[in-house]
Amino acid sequence: MNHQKLFESDISSEAAKEWRSKGKKVLGVICCHVPEEIFYAADVLPIRMRATGCVDSSEAETWMSSFSCSFAKAMLQYWLDGTYELDGFVTSDGCLMAARVFDNAAYINEREKKGQFIRQIGAPRKRSPRTIPFYKAELADLVDELEKFTGSKITDEKLKEAAAKYNEARALVSQLYELRKEKNPVISGADTLRITLAATNMPIDEYIELLKAFLADAKNRTPITDARARIMVIGSALDNPEYLEVIEEKGGIVVADALCFGNRGFGEPLVVDDKDVLGSIADYYLSRLVCPRMMDKHEEMHDFIIKSVREYNVDGVIYQRMQNCEVWGGENVLLEQKLKNQGIPLLTVEREEQMANAGQLAVRAEAFIEMIEKED
């Protein structure tokens, strides 16, 4: 099976067109706290929205100002200019930028009578016996709304089936990441990101088949032997493989990450309690370690980063933070010292969604790689 489609990271509306041609709905998803399992159960194609390749978000900027995160603005831009062929989108209040994408789009949707399905669910910022029922109630509202929108009943059985399907994808992505633990990995960081991004471009069933094919073929790939340093990349939403290519062209190889478009966006398997299926989904999504928006997960995230450094034999961590992305903007208060205590080198770089500062990144990445590279 040709799995080349996994490496096409540009945003494509091909899958959406095909899905809609069957009379079914396609909805965008903004933020990793919107459970895609619910969409699958409603026979809706969820397209996790991103901003890859957006070079001009000026229209969105008139709505969100120059003080907003460029990733969020670019997503709004793509929605405004119709890059995505969607019937609407669902977001959570993942961060205030995502919330404002929703607010502005909902406002424009009403004003211009676009008639799109635009909804927001509230996702708590802590996991506790108080927050899980709240989130479950929000998800139940989403289930109700999707049932009305699609005319399709979302049963527990369908949700369990969806969870099993997404767990299959999660397991395959874990296998993909296992490949990166090798001394000479057969896949670069940029290509790994392309593969995880591809999940946003197609139905999960198709993605699973393609990923299976890739993994079966992985042993035939040529190992990368010329990398001078093994890098972990952490930080703000990164949906641009070229960014990692800049680092890799300078002699690094990105072998691990803590990125919401990387395996963090997939996460560990979702364990479903048959007695409370929606509650299990709610608990799972609040337990996942994806984004520092969760106020009670900073230390867990730091521990995960340190553990990954060990597991993937990382030489140094690059922490990229998008300008005006506050949720990822403050990790160094505690993380920097923790990494220092563990003897883990750290490079902190500012970034915009558009690749305007690639030259500067290249210079800094090269210097960092020279600093951390080890002689065999």
Binding site: F67, S68, M97, E326, V333
Partner: protein, 430 residues
């Protein structure tokens, strides 16, 4: 009495703490005011009450509770603790840019420069060991913004005292109020555990009654501003921002009583904040803390008075059934959800739009300004929706000025004035 520059030097050298600086500066202002404007002493009394209270909390045998974001201060007070609203540090220091610069620079060693200056100042000052007080308890909320959601959990770890955090939902609805009421029950249990006292409902009632009185008085002060000419100066709108720190204390009501008295007297005398009021400004965003003198300048230069801002609308949620515990906690939850500019502007944009619409409806404003703090990115991200409504419904273009409420290096007072001047001369006065 040392002058402010000398005091600043002492703080910069680490020889004076922020709390000592604030208390000394306030005492100095009071002394000067006694000589020059004794009739305005009431504007300083609340500040003295607050800062002396923070400084002396432990001396007076009270536990000190640091809090960030919107939290039920009535409960903190009912446990006989002194609540210290952390935003009062950047608010207080905003007129001393050398100090805020020091703490912001310290914070920026770790955090992104785009983080809100309030949070950077709070964080940087703590990292410098400059507060001069240490809390026994820390309470914070997931509002107002992404900056604070990052700064407060970091402070929780750094300060290292028993901490409680609230999670406030984005939308404002019944589910959210119930959710917050549940969390307030947890907070009460937390306070009982860490103070060793049971909640005294009568004490809580006392503070809820105070809160009711204060918000009702605030509403009356706001209503005075509808009068033409507006009897109260724009600067007082900035002072009313202290409500978040003192909302349940009698002294806040005393401030409003004095404000009401002055306002009524001005009306009786047929006088306004401007000698010849021409322009009534609605402030869509009003974060001009470090440059509040600009309010006076606009009044003098253009006969333009800020009649209302989005901080001023707080008086519509009051406790009605004070013996009904659940109802009271839900009211507290609603207050958390609706606290203007704390959650007011960080919740759904529709509430901000509605609030601004009400200002234009009720205050007959003929100038629209958005003096936006660059750290409030979420407010900027709804600014077009708000200003479009103003343009379409009231036919007024909005002046947008980006400023930093805390970091004086971002834009000087003269630069802000130049932008306002150009707007008045090329748009408003044409």
């Amino acid at each position: 009495m040392a002058d402010v520059k000398n005091l600043e030097e002492l703080v910069l050298k680490g020889e004076m703490t922020i709390v000592e600086f604030a208390c000394t500066k306030i005492d100095g202002s009071i002394e000067r005011m006694k000589e020059r404007n004794p009739e305005m002493l009431w504007t300083m009394e609340i500040q003295k009450f607050m800062w002396d209270g923070y400084r002396d909390a432990h001396k007076n045998g009270k536990k000190l509770v640091f809090y960030g974001g919107s939290v039920p201060t009535e409960i903190i007070a009912a446990f006989d603790c002194v609540g210290f609203y952390m935003d009062t540090i950047p608010f207080r220091l905003s007129t001393n840019p050398a100090l805020t610069a020091k703490y912001i620079d310290e914070a920026e060693k770790y955090v992104a420069p785009s983080m809100c200056g309030l949070d950077k100042t709070e964080l940087g000052a703590w990292l410098c060991g400059a507060y001069g007080i240490k809390p026994d308890i820390f309470v914070y909320n997931s509002v107002p913004c992404d900056s604070s959601r990052i700064a407060y959990p970091a402070l929780e770890k750094i300060i290292g005292v028993p901490t409680f955090s609230f999670d406030t939902p984005f939308r404002r609805d019944e589910r959210g109020a119930e959710y917050l009421a549940d969390q307030i029950e947890d907070f009460i249990a937390f306070m009982e555990e860490h103070t060793g006292n049971k909640l005294d409902w009568d004490k809580l009632k006392y503070y809820m009654e105070n809160a009711n009185r204060n918000f009702e008085l605030q509403r009356k002060c706001a209503d005075l501003r509808k009068h033409k000419p507006c009897p109260l100066p724009g600067r007082l709108l900035v002072l009313n921002g202290t409500t978040n720190a003192a909302a349940c204390y009698p002294i806040m009501g005393d401030l409003y009583e004095s404000e009401l008295e002055v306002g009524q007297m001005m009306i009786d005398l047929g006088m306004g904040a401007c000698p010849d009021e021409k322009y009534r400004i609605a402030m869509l965003q009003n974060m001009i803390w470090g440059n509040a003198g600009i309010m006076d300048w606009m009044q003098k230069e253009y006969n333009a008075v800020a009649v209302m801002d989005a901080f001023g609308f707080q008086g519509d949620i009051i406790y009605e059934h004070m013996d009904d515990r659940r109802d009271c906690l839900k009211v507290m939850g609603k207050k958390i959800q609706n606290n203007p500019m704390i959650h007011g502007a960080s919740g759904p944009s529709e509430h901000h739009i509605k609030m601004v619409d009400e200002i234009f409806e009720q205050y007959d404003a003929n100038v629209s300004m958005f003096l936006g703090h660059v750290g409030c990115k979420h407010t900027w991200a709804s600014a077009k929706m708000v200003s479009d409504m103003v343009q379409e419904k009231y036919g007024l273009p909005t002046l947008f000025i980006d400023l930093d409420a805390i970091d004086g290096r971002y834009k000087s007072s003269d630069e802000i004035k130049a932008q306002i001047k150009e707007y008045f001369e090329t748009v408003v006065m044409q």
